[in-house]
Symmetry: D2
Subunit: 149 residues, 4 copies
């Protein structure tokens, strides 16, 4: 019964351009997988959830606090773990494939966890670390996700 | 968009009788809520997931290891948190209401967390601790869940 | 090189009487073990740390937040884990023996974890759960700790 | 009473050369701080603990499992957190200053957490990420640690 999940990671805040890319990524991902997992907050996380919902998918948000209301409005299932930044490891481990959008050190810690676990991580104009799969378009990201589901 | 979740807690192993009660509880819960959260393993957890799936619901399993395959066959969405017993707090915190089936110290720690968080916890022949809502039938449990969703 | 550690658990707030008992317990524990582990906050935790320091021991505080300043003034080494209540499992697991002072549901979750791990837990007028070692005096608690170090 | 702690991060396995550097770092750190925190396992962690003990300091090991025996022989105080890789965030957060030795993705996740928390992180021939303080000798590392304690 085990369903596939794609996790998307990226910054709490982002430019309008990255927001559009994240939304588009969400919409297209909804065509290839039923469940999306994110950190459940703002910025890239909210944009990709919004797109994924628009595409008909179900969104999971693993948030750092204990308050379900901290999740963005496009999260269906909230896991309010109250673990602070230790939640980063849970977000990526819940995914069978991970897509990284631009973000700062938090996103870097998540990419590092993917590499440590051996979870494929696709960097869509995010950190360029040895071991990530680099792509420069939503189409490229979707193509790489499909190969790995 | 935030969906309600009911968490069910209880032992890793259980008698045939408790297994039947757990399965029946799962089936009936599926009529009142879309998502069930459990610890994702065997015994009461497996039985309630099996009933909930039979009733048409979607099951979330928050498992203590990093290996999604450790979840029972009736879990749809696995959160493989690798946190060991610290996962107990996550299972109950993910629920808006919690039902406790018979179990040992692990179940007791989960009931204690419910009380600490102020999450309503319905004890169906499980631990009798000041603060729990005691019921002695599946119907009684369902009635109490409904009041609190 | 592995040093023995005794963990003491109990409420955030306590009566003057329990505070005195906790302080006395701390002083006497410092004669039998070098390191004390607590949740690092107020009430019984502060009182037992204060006694343990007065007795010449070194105190470890595993606090739920990320801010070392949240620890009480009698903590030497702060582990600021930012894990919220999931820290309860860490406090008891760090001890080779646990003494429980009066407390509410948080203390109950910690006692439950002791039972689950098989760590000896001595209840000094705290929760009376099957499996705990009940004592009604500081001397009784110290005697039981000694047997198990 | 709050004591300063330096955390040292780095790989599970390392070359003889890095082992010597880690040991030397440990010895010299023991002159500037009383407590060392590491992940408590092998490789760079063991070497730096060994040096720190030789220098007269007290070592804390935050290990990923629940079994205190998993810690290396130079750890005095074991926090057996059973949190798997989520322990990475705890190791760095327990330090007031962090020194990174060579390591792989796990070390990278720890550096990323330092940057996210704003904890000064000194890279001694480890990952070169924007925001770290780069040094190429033990002396250089000690100098940078001293400035920040």
């Amino acid at each position: 019964m085990l369903e596939k999940v794609v996790s998307v990671i990226g910054g709490h805040s982002c430019t309008k351009e990255v927001e559009q890319i994240a939304t588009e990524l969400g919409k297209k991902l909804a065509k290839v997988v039923k469940y999306l997992c994110t950190g459940g907050l703002s910025g890239t996380m909210k944009a990709v959830c919004s797109g994924f919902k628009a595409g008909g998918g179900i969104t999971i948000g693993i948030i750092p606090s204990y308050d379900k209301k901290d999740a963005n409005n496009f999260v269906d299932i909230v896991i309010p773990i109250g673990l602070g930044l230790a939640r980063n490891v849970l977000v990526v481990k819940s995914g069978d494939v991970v897509v990284a959008l631009p973000g700062e050190a938090g996103t870097l810690s998540e990419i590092a966890y993917c590499l440590q676990f051996g979870i494929p991580v696709i960097s869509l104009n995010s950190w360029d670390i040895a071991g990530v799969i680099r792509v420069d378009s939503v189409e490229g990201a979707i193509k790489e996700v499909k190969k790995r589901l």
